[in-house]
């Protein structure tokens, strides 16, 4: 029975990751829509279904990795010698992870040290471990919805301080792609249900509204965005500082647009943001996204 759950739960997690990735990729994979911008309220499933199957097949392997390994603790070295290619990768990852152990713990008794515990890191929102004092940059990344999926982790582990300017993680990065992939595979074994793993913050950052690509693809007018941004900068600091009010600079444009529509539609609740977003049209949101994404320090 335990073994069954070991297999099953990570699979659910993997599907959830897929749904998230689907959102991220929707913009690229869905055919550039001829529909008018007003049709942005197409149902969430419509967008997701078109891409989900493809992604599922790509991800099943990873899910299996997690499944197999979660069943048996990775400390069982003999397990790694049972020659499945997946197990080999995890074993390689465990070895690579030695570079991380000075600061990060995983496993049953893992605690935050110089770095946060990495149990459940795959699929979780950045900066979401309770009690860890993240850098401002990491908190901002979490606030704008950065989720540690394979793609993001791979980028970050390659060159942390380039990938996430301002991170406190003083680590040059893992050298080879293989090493990175192995480390991620290893970390997945401590990530039973990668998305929303018992953490409210994770679900809050999942894409709340599925926007039609015609909305996401609007080319924002940065000059109009600059004018409109002056309404934002009364509260949100233009230099990205955040003190009680999150930073909104240098977000990926599609994230910015999605979050603003979530406020506009009331999916996210905040009276000031609901009011402000409520009177912004699609063009205006796109303009703001374009402006803030390009804002320099």
């Amino acid at each position: 029975m335990l073994r069954f759950f070991g297999v099953f739960i990570p699979s659910i997690g993997a599907v959830a990751v897929v749904l998230l990735s689907a959102y991220v990729f929707a913009n690229r994979l869905v055919e550039k829509a001829p529909e008018p911008a007003a049709a942005y309220m197409s149902g969430p499933t419509a967008v997701q279904q078109e891409v989900a199957p493809k992604e599922v097949t790509e991800s099943i392997g990873d899910a299996d990795v997690a499944a197999n390994e979660a069943a048996e603790p990775p400390s069982g070295i003999e397990e790694a010698t049972t020659t499945s290619p997946v197990s080999e990768r995890v074993a390689a990852g465990e070895k690579a992870f030695r570079k991380c152990r000075a600061c990060h713990q995983v496993g049953e008794d893992a605690k935050n040290r110089a770095g946060p515990t990495l149990n459940g890191v795959v699929g979780r929102v950045a900066a979401s471990v309770d009690g860890f004092n993240y850098s401002k940059a990491m908190k901002a990344a979490g606030m704008r919805g950065l989720i540690w999926n394979d793609e993001e982790l791979a980028g970050y582990l390659a060159k942390p301080r380039v990938y996430l300017r301002g991170t406190k993680m003083s680590f040059a990065g893992l050298k080879s792609e293989d090493e990175i992939a192995a480390t991620i595979a290893y970390l997945k074994t401590f990530s039973e249900s990668p998305v929303g793993a018992g953490d409210g913050d994770a679900s809050a950052a999942a894409p709340e509204v599925a926007l039609d690509s015609s909305v996401l693809d609007i080319e924002g007018d940065p000059e109009y965005g600059e004018y409109l941004s002056s309404e934002c900068t009364t509260c949100h600091q233009a230099d990205g500082d955040d003190e009680g009010i999150p930073s909104i600079v240098r977000w990926a444009e599609d994230r910015f647009v999605t979050v603003m529509h979530a406020y506009k539609l009331g999916v996210r609740e905040h009276p000031v943001m609901n009011m402000v977003a409520g009177r912004l049209g699609n063009e205006e949101i796109a303009a703001l996204a374009a402006y803030f994404a390009a804002l320099e320090d």
């Binding site: 002056s230 009364t234 009680g244 009010i245 009276p271 000031v272 609901n274 009177r279």
Partner: protein
């Protein structure tokens, strides 16, 4: 802060140096010139945005007598002990260094709209193509019989932040045990509608810790006031029995004071008080009247660009303007300044002009970690700045939400300070 001529004349410290030789500055080149009078939330924002966005194409001078500006917003939190006075003080260094604003520390005493010049107390004259007036408020003479600015050291108004705020706090700290604090609240319209009531909350917070048997009495000419239900709920919850308010039905609008005797006559009943905070009726800062753009107490404006209805080359921002549905607040002034800056820049350089849009949110602190807010968005109509949508905090909200609201207000303060002063 507002340009109160009388306080200027009373004080010798205010008007001394200027950063530049303005007459030379005015005549030296052909670039369009904008003069902004008043370095508060409206004026400093307008100066910063015109200078920043025009990137050197427009010369901007900001006339402001004080070198350190103390914001009225959050000054109540200083009274309550939540902020230091240094937390609400700001200098103009960044406006000058980062954006090239020519900050002139002097008083503007005259405006010649036909010659398009501004005269300073120091004697210099500034030419302008566009003049932006953001002088804040002055007090209506005689609105509280017995009180004038000469009494402000006995009965402070503390409605222009800085030394007045510090004086009021010192008086409160030195109040005798079980003493009485009386606030004479202002009639509408006035700067910061929830301000007097947030102040009462903060004074109650201060006294609850230092002088718990002290009492607070508000004499109020208004039937109703901003966020009333929220404040009254909070007062009952945090300061039960400490605060009473006499509205017009108990003569709250029929007040006179005797600063020497430290008494307040409320509708014929004379009260001896230990600390009295007189917030008189308000009008536009004097220079708006001097410039001839006021009609009654305030300066009517065209909502689309905040230009004066009396002169298209003069814009009036913030508290001094007759701003339709918008409340007089730092947030409002900051919002109007951006609309104005966009329009002024467009008129002078041909840059793109976008439609006016305004917003405002006012946070108030009732007690430790008990913050509330009210806000609205506005648009320009031919008649006025008209409200579009709004929200207000609810009674009975849970403590976590109220705490988050307070923390948000701190974030807002940091944000707007950066937006105003660079």
């Amino acid at each position: 802060m507002s340009l109160n001529r009388r306080s200027f004349l009373a004080s010798s410290a205010g008007a001394t140096a200027t950063l530049a030789a303005p007459a030379v500055w005015g005549a030296s080149h052909g670039r369009p010139r904008v003069v902004v009078i008043g370095g508060g939330a409206g004026g400093a924002t307008a100066a910063r945005y015109v200078a920043k966005d025009s990137d050197g194409a427009i010369d901007v001078a900001l006339v402001e007598p004080t070198r350190t500006y103390y914001t009225c917003f959050f000054s109540n939190l200083y009274l309550g002990g939540f902020k230091e006075v240094s937390d609400i003080g700001h200098s103009y260094g960044t406006l000058a260094s980062a954006h090239g604003v020519n900050v002139v520390h002097d008083w503007a005493v005259g405006v010649d709209r036909s010659a398009k010049t501004v005269t300073l107390a120091g004697g210099a004259t500034l030419d302008y193509d566009k003049l932006i007036l953001s002088p804040g408020i002055d007090f209506v003479d005689g609105s509280v019989p017995g009180w004038d600015v000469s009494a402000q050291n006995k009965m402070p108004h503390a409605y222009k932040a800085g030394s007045q705020t510090e004086l009021l706090k010192a008086q409160l700290m030195g109040m005798k045990e079980g003493g009485l604090f009386i606030m004479v609240a202002p009639p509408n319209p006035y700067r910061c509608p929830p301000g007097p009531y947030e102040r009462v909350s903060m004074v109650a917070h201060l006294l609850k810790n230092n002088n718990p048997t002290a009492k607070i009495l508000i004499a109020d000419p208004k039937e109703k006031f901003s966020k009333q239900a929220l404040f009254e709920e909070g007062w009952e919850k945090h300061y039960g029995g400490m605060i009473s308010r006499l509205g017009p039905d108990f003569g709250g609008g029929n007040i006179s004071v005797d600063p020497e005797a430290m008494t307040v006559d409320i509708d014929g009943q004379v009260e001896s008080a230990d600390v009295v905070n007189v917030i008189p009726a308000m009008k536009a800062g004097r220079i708006a009247e001097v410039a001839g753009v006021t009609d009654g107490n305030w300066a009517p404006v065209n909502a689309v660009d905040m230009s004066s209805k009396a002169d298209p080359d003069v814009h009036v921002l913030g508290d001094a303007s007759q701003q339709g549905d918008m409340p007089k607040s730092g947030f409002s002034a900051n919002s109007q300044a951006k609309v104005c800056a966009n329009a002024v820049r467009g008129a002078l350089t041909g840059s793109r002009v976008f439609p006016a849009r305004f917003s405002n949110t006012c946070w108030s602190l009732i007690a430790s970690n008990d913050g509330v807010k009210v806000g609205a968005t506005y648009e320009a109509t031919p008649e006025k700045i008209a409200k579009v949508d709004g929200f207000i905090s609810q009674t009975g909200e849970d403590a976590a939400l109220r705490k988050a609201t307070y923390e948000e207000s701190e974030g807002w303060y940091a944000g707007i300070a950066a937006d105003i002063f660079g």
